[in-house]
Symmetry: C2
């Protein structure tokens, strides 16, 4: 049994409300319909105040006034029924399982013809109900990454609660973030700041060098483009524990996008920015300025790197003075560098010199 | 301090021996040289007795009798020096760090020009010394996957030993396999068999349904093509705890290769088959026969699927009656299925029916 039954009940209620709305529309002699924000790229705007992507004002209507519209609502009703039952039984499933499971439904017209259809429907239900997928107990396929640092958590698992200290109770691999990090409660910590790290090699370097221990840093491995679970945990660490969040990646345009997805959210999950994005997150490096300052081994920018940098110059997320300067410098020097390139100055350079210097400049270390 | 200093000392000695050999060759007025198995595909043979890939009889010689040969040996000597020092200091590094680190070496001719050069050299040193990369304290970039089941381990971390029960002391995400699983000692277990699972979605399903608990199964998440650490741990579970190992993947030719790499090793790491491969591992499914028997949702085979199946029919690893029958059946029906397709029979079908039936047929469950 989940101890989070209150939030499960709320999610279930929102789902039933949606189905009830269709019922009421029928009862009133109206054609059932569902209104939701238009989800095209042109209706996604950057909210300058909140510093994240959100939907614009345009809306679309899914109505049963056509055969295809009616089929969409039928699928929505079957899916709502499945999700409500899943919540009542305190179970969960993945998006892919939902797609396959629909083959067992008695009404053939309600079955999904491909997974992108069921994926979009779940996103629609998230948007209309204001309830996150995780609260419907839909698990992502991609799991979250891992954490190491002076933080003690309590996780509700489906076999009881577990209290885990993310240094003392874990192996060298750290604590594995569960698919739904809202099952985690922060119990106690000595953490001064969160350091999100792009690559596994650098994460392992920091852990081997004891950086988390020496600086009371919580090292969160992003593992490339971070999973929802990782971004959600990062946001909660910032909001609930009031910790500064820093992001440490390679020095190339694709890595700046990784930073962007941690801090500003992504276009694909604009309806979840409030839940996933940490606009206060700050970029440590590798900055193009570091490539020059520390004379790092580099690779030349490819054509697609140059294009990506140029499109970042136009991107509302990268309009600050810092980013404009850095991106222009990078286009100017025509080079990129990986975070592990810091090893050219010795294996301890990153933990003894680079990170302490940058964190002091940023005012995070005294 | 590592408590495994005996094996560190042995590895260090082997490295120094190699450098000493060059020295002796110089002293005797010989041109220094290093002999190693020819590492082309044509010199890799399937050892029918051991059921794994191994090198054939042909050898090549790296000699200092040319400028390029001499540079190779110079790089080898610098690398040996670095590795010996790393072992003496009980530190570790990644292959990528070694590449970058070489930029800090005083002798410019010893520096690597690209990472594939340093990667190959480390493989050469593994082969010639008979010491595994992990014992040189070279960590892979890719980390191991995660484990859930009735097993208690003790892991030596660089901040002390940790005792962890892989059900009671971990969250829903399980125990994260460290980069070098030889730092793990098996303390106690109630495990009946090991179940390696390809996808994260299916791993999460088994854990949610409590399959590990009900059947005393150790669920090892492979996460696609398994990392060295995952294959090594699986082999040790088989050899040291005498546990049957089973592999559960999607039903397509690429997944059969995942099974192949767990059980027979891979061509790329033929020199490590003895250390990484578990020839006794058995394939549970999804078998083409399951697609027919359980009427699973399928996708048609693509051209590249058909080519891969046909090349598996020629592959020495798939010459058994079982595999010939199954691959021919699959070419005949022209279909493939994912493991999560079992959800079309309900979310519990895999744990209540499919796996118990298959494991009983295989004689692993009574």
């Amino acid at each position: 049994m989940s101890s989070d039954t209150a939030s499960d009940d709320a999610a279930r209620e929102r789902l039933i409300d949606m189905a009830a709305q269709f019922y009421d529309q029928f009862a009133d002699g109206e054609i059932p319909a569902m209104e939701l924000p238009t989800r095209s790229k042109s209706n996604i705007v950057f909210d300058e105040d909140a510093d994240v992507w959100v939907y614009g004002d345009r809306t679309s209507t899914r109505s049963a006034n056509s055969a295809s519209g009616a089929r969409k609502l039928l699928k929505a009703v079957y899916t709502i029924d499945f999700l409500a039952q899943q919540l009542a039984e305190d179970r969960s499933s993945t998006l892919r399982e939902l797609y396959y499971l629909s083959e067992s439904w008695d009404e053939e017209a309600a079955q999904f013809t491909n997974q992108s259809e069921s994926d979009s429907l779940v996103e629609d239900l998230e948007i209309v109900s204001g309830v996150k997928r995780e609260d419907f107990h839909m698990r992502p396929e991609e799991s979250g990454a891992k954490v190491m640092g002076p933080l003690k958590i309590r996780e509700q698992t489906n076999r009881g609660d577990r209290e885990i200290h993310c240094q003392d109770d874990v192996g060298q691999g750290g604590y594995q973030i569960p698919n739904n990090p809202d099952t985690i409660e922060f119990i106690d910590h000595d953490t001064e700041f969160v350091l999100c790290v792009e690559t596994g090699g650098m994460r392992d370097r920091l852990v081997e060098n004891g950086f988390d221990d020496e600086y009371n840093a919580l090292v969160v491995h992003l593992g490339g483009q971070p999973a929802r679970a990782t971004r959600r945990l990062t946001k909660r660490l910032h909001d609930e524990l009031d910790l500064p969040v820093t992001v440490f990646t390679d020095g190339d345009p694709w890595s700046y996008r990784i930073f962007g997805s941690v801090s500003y959210g992504s276009i694909k999950s604009a309806h979840l920015s409030e839940y996933l994005a940490t606009p206060e997150a700050r970029f440590i490096g590798i900055r193009p300025a570091d490539i020059v300052e520390y004379d790092l081994p580099t690779d030349p920018l490819s054509d697609s790197d140059v294009n990506a940098l140029e499109s970042e110059l136009e991107d509302p997320r990268f309009q600050s003075e810092f980013w404009t300067e850095q991106i222009e410098l990078q286009l100017d020097i025509g080079k990129k560098a990986e975070q592990q390139a810091l090893a050219s100055r010795g294996l301890d350079f990153v933990t003894d010199t680079y990170l302490p210097e940058r964190l002091t400049e940023m005012g995070i270390l005294d």
